[in-house]
Each structure stands twice: as structure tokens, then as C-alpha cells.
């Protein structure tokens, strides 16, 4: 029992991302409104972004920006002192790309609304089958 609580506490970042990912997936699968599906997709992307960022964290690590490097000459930089910059780079581009995909998805939703006069999935299906 004590081990279980310790596991839950020491890995709390993963529980947050799992919950967010489940919320996003649920919205994408179950919600009928297309805009709600798009928002679900965005929540899912946010979950993945948080997952990557939390992987990069290190205890007692600071920002991956070095201080006073130009003039003091070369001094040893220890990797354990700085948090992992690689997930930050990957997610930096992923955030911008998620905005771009959100734009395209909304444009498609507007197009669907023009075509069918509704954003409800069931009504669109009924209109297509008619």
C-alpha cells in the first residue's frame, strides 16, 4: 500500500497527461458536434505536449540557457545541472503546428457548415444518405 502511494506521488505528471488524453479522446469519439471534436483534438495535443515537457524535467536542474559564456572562457558544463532541452524544442514546434492544424480544421468545419447548414454529425449523415 505504501509503495503504491509512493508510485502515484512520484509519477504524478503522467497521471495528469493520461487524464487529459482520455478527455480529449472522449471528446473526439463521442461528441457529435464537429467543433467539440476539434477542441477534443486540441486537448489531446495539449496532453502530449505536457507529457513531453514533463519528461524533460530534472530535479535541481535549471533552464537550459547558459550564463556568461562569451567572455569567461570555457568552463565545464554538467548536463545534470540543466533540464533536458530536446523535448522543449520538439514541443515548441508542435505548439505552432497544432495552431496551424486547428486553423485548417476550423476552415473545414466552416466549409461543412456552408454545405449542410449544421455541424451535428448525425444530421450531416442523414443529409448525405438522403
Amino acid at each position: 500500500m505504501h509503495d503504491l502511494i509512493l508510485t502515484i506521488i512520484s509519477k504524478y505528471n503522467y497521471w495528469i497527461y493520461i487524464v487529459l488524453l482520455m478527455i480529449g479522446l472522449y471528446a473526439m469519439m463521442v461528441k457529435k458536434n464537429l467543433v467539440k471534436k476539434i477542441i477534443g483534438m486540441n486537448i489531446l495535443q495539449t496532453a502530449i505536449i505536457l507529457f513531453y515537457i514533463s519528461i524533460g524535467a530534472k530535479k535541481d536542474g535549471t533552464l537550459p540557457i547558459l550564463l556568461h559564456t562569451h567572455h569567461t572562457g570555457h568552463h565545464l558544463v554538467r548536463a545534470a545541472d540543466y533540464i533536458n532541452p530536446l523535448p522543449h524544442v520538439l514541443m515548441l514546434t508542435a505548439i505552432v503546428v497544432s495552431v496551424a492544424t486547428l486553423g485548417v480544421a476550423l476552415a473545414l468545419a466552416i466549409k461543412v457548415y456552408h454545405q449542410h447548414g449544421t455541424l451535428d454529425e448525425d444530421e450531416i449523415h442523414a443529409r448525405i444518405r438522403k
Binding site: T7, S10, K11, Y12, N13, Y14, W15, I18, V19, L21, M22, L25, Y26, M29, V30, S54, I55, G56, A57, K58, K59, D60, G61, L63, P64, I65, L66, L67, T69, H70, H74, V77, R78, A79, A80, Y82, N84, P85, L86, P87, H88, V89, L92, T93, I95, V96, V97, V99, A100, T101, G103, V104, L106, A107, L108, I110, K111
Partner: protein, 276 residues
């Protein structure tokens, strides 16, 4: 459907939670992600590129290809939105609405009618009625220059402090969106037209790919900024930092223009006459 979806998602969450037991703990400095290539980046970024911000160094130098294609992705997103929604309608065929500022009386002028001259007594308004909002307009007019200066600073100083092309581009785009929200879409487009945004979208990707090609022409690999040393008159390590700056400016241009053009097209339903 709801129950089936819920069961699938609970199953998926259960699998993820089960896999989590093998994951490293929060903040573990010996986690697998921190052991291999990232340690090299942290220890050698400054000696390789003379850029203290390791995130920027990786973004634009070590993973330059990746970032170039990310820029191309958002560029193609703007093009996709344009092709999906843009409709060209003749300007003169619609009726226009004008407001007499002093009294608040609205005039509707049918096509062919005489339009009031440009003056302080009348202003053109959108077809959905909007209140006359002097405070919002004045406050935004005061804020926007500072936001833009800050955006330019974030792009140009991305080597030494948190920042870079993506962040600065988003801040610059947000300043123009703030103008569009506080005033109206028409006056925004008269200041930053559709052609300008399209030009900046493509010019940013061109600057990025052009920097890479310039390195190739100087005899190095694509995006190997060390080759710019002979052109810029500095040593190869410092030339990398200058090459990163050139690339970041390209990224900033594309990101800003994509944000603005996405807003233009989505908010006005592709007509670009009146928006939110």
C-alpha cells in the same frame, strides 16, 4: 455509442496507466530521455555554436531540417485555409453602413448610392451593429507598438534569452490580431493587406531555405552555417550563431503572417470584407 466510447477510452487509459509503472520518476536526472543525445547538446552547444540558449541552438542548428519543414507545414496550413475558404466577391455590389459619430445614427447606403466622404463625422461599420468603443480602441492603440517591439526583441534576442522565431512571430501576429479585434477587419486589411501576408508567408520559408542553400553554394552541407564565416567575416563558430539568427527571422516572418492570414480568412468566412 457513449458507453462504447467510454469503455474504449477507459481501456486505453488503463493501458497507459499500466505502462506508466515502467516510466522514470518525475524529475529523474538519469531518465533515458536525458542520457543520450541531450547530454551532448547541453555540454557542447556553446562550443559548437556560441549560442547560450541551448533550445535555440538545437532548434535552428542541430535540428535545422526539422524546423525548416515545420515552417513549411504552417505555410501549407495557411495555403490550405486560403484554398478552402477564400471567396472573391465584387466590392461594389453590397450595401454599406455608416455611422454618424456624434449622434450614433446609422445610415444604410444601397449599391449605387452616394458614399460620404472620408471625414471624422462618419465612419463605416460592419453589418452586425457594434458599439462605438473609444476606450478599447485607444487602449489597444497604446499597447500595440510595445507588443510589437517586444515581439521583435524576442526574435532578435532568441539566442541569449528565452525566445526565438516561433515565439516572437506569434507575439507579432497577436499584436495585429489585437488591432483587428479592437478596430475592425477592414482597417486592419488596409494596413496589412492580403498580398503582404501572402508574401511574408512565403518569404519566411524562402529565407530559411535560402540560408541553407547559401551554405551549400559556399561549399558546405545544407544548413551548415559554419560556411557563412567567409561571407560574414567572423570565425565559423560565431557564424553559426549568425546563421541561426537569419533562420529565426525567416521563421518569425512566416509564423506572424500565417497567424494573421488564418485570422483574416476564418473570421470573415473567406470574404475578407467584414469580420469579428
Amino acid at each position: 455509442m457513449k458507453v462504447v466510447g467510454l469503455i474504449i477510452i477507459l481501456l486505453c487509459g488503463g493501458l497507459l496507466a499500466y505502462a506508466t509503472t515502467d516510466f522514470p520518476n518525475w524529475g529523474d536526472p538519469t531518465s533515458p530521455a536525458a542520457m543520450h543525445v541531450s547530454a551532448y547538446y547541453i555540454e557542447n552547444a556553446v562550443t559548437d555554436t556560441s549560442v547560450p540558449n541551448i533550445v535555440t541552438a538545437i532548434l535552428a542548428d542541430y535540428r535545422g531540417y526539422d524546423t525548416m519543414f515545420e515552417t513549411a507545414v504552417i505555410f501549407s496550413a495557411a495555403i490550405a485555409c486560403f484554398l478552402l475558404l477564400r471567396i472573391f466577391t465584387p466590392k461594389s455590389s453590397q450595401s454599406r453602413l455608416y455611422r454618424h459619430i456624434a449622434t450614433g445614427i446609422t445610415l444604410r447606403i444601397e449599391p449605387g448610392g452616394k458614399l460620404p466622404e472620408k471625414s471624422d463625422t462618419f465612419e463605416r461599420i460592419d453589418s452586425s451593429w457594434v458599439p462605438h468603443d473609444l476606450i478599447i480602441k485607444t487602449a489597444c492603440r497604446l499597447f500595440i507598438p510595445f507588443i510589437q517591439i517586444f515581439g521583435l526583441y524576442v526574435i532578435a534576442h532568441g539566442h541569449h534569452s528565452p525566445g526565438g522565431g516561433f515565439q516572437g512571430g506569434v507575439i507579432l501576429g497577436a499584436s495585429i490580431l489585437l488591432f483587428a479585434v479592437s478596430n475592425d477587419l477592414r482597417s486592419t486589411i488596409s494596413r496589412m493587406g492580403e498580398k503582404l501576408t501572402a508574401f511574408l508567408c512565403s518569404a519566411g520559408v524562402f529565407v530559411y531555405a535560402g540560408t541553407g542553400t547559401l551554405c551549400m553554394l559556399l561549399g558546405a552541407n545544407f544548413l551548415d552555417y559554419g560556411a557563412l564565416a567567409s561571407l560574414l567575416g567572423v570565425d565559423p563558430v560565431l557564424a553559426r550563431s549568425h546563421g541561426i539568427l537569419m533562420v529565426e527571422i525567416g521563421v518569425g516572418m512566416t509564423v506572424m503572417a500565417v497567424m494573421v492570414s488564418l485570422y483574416y480568412i476564418l473570421s470573415s468566412d473567406g470574404k475578407l470584407n467584414e469580420g469579428l
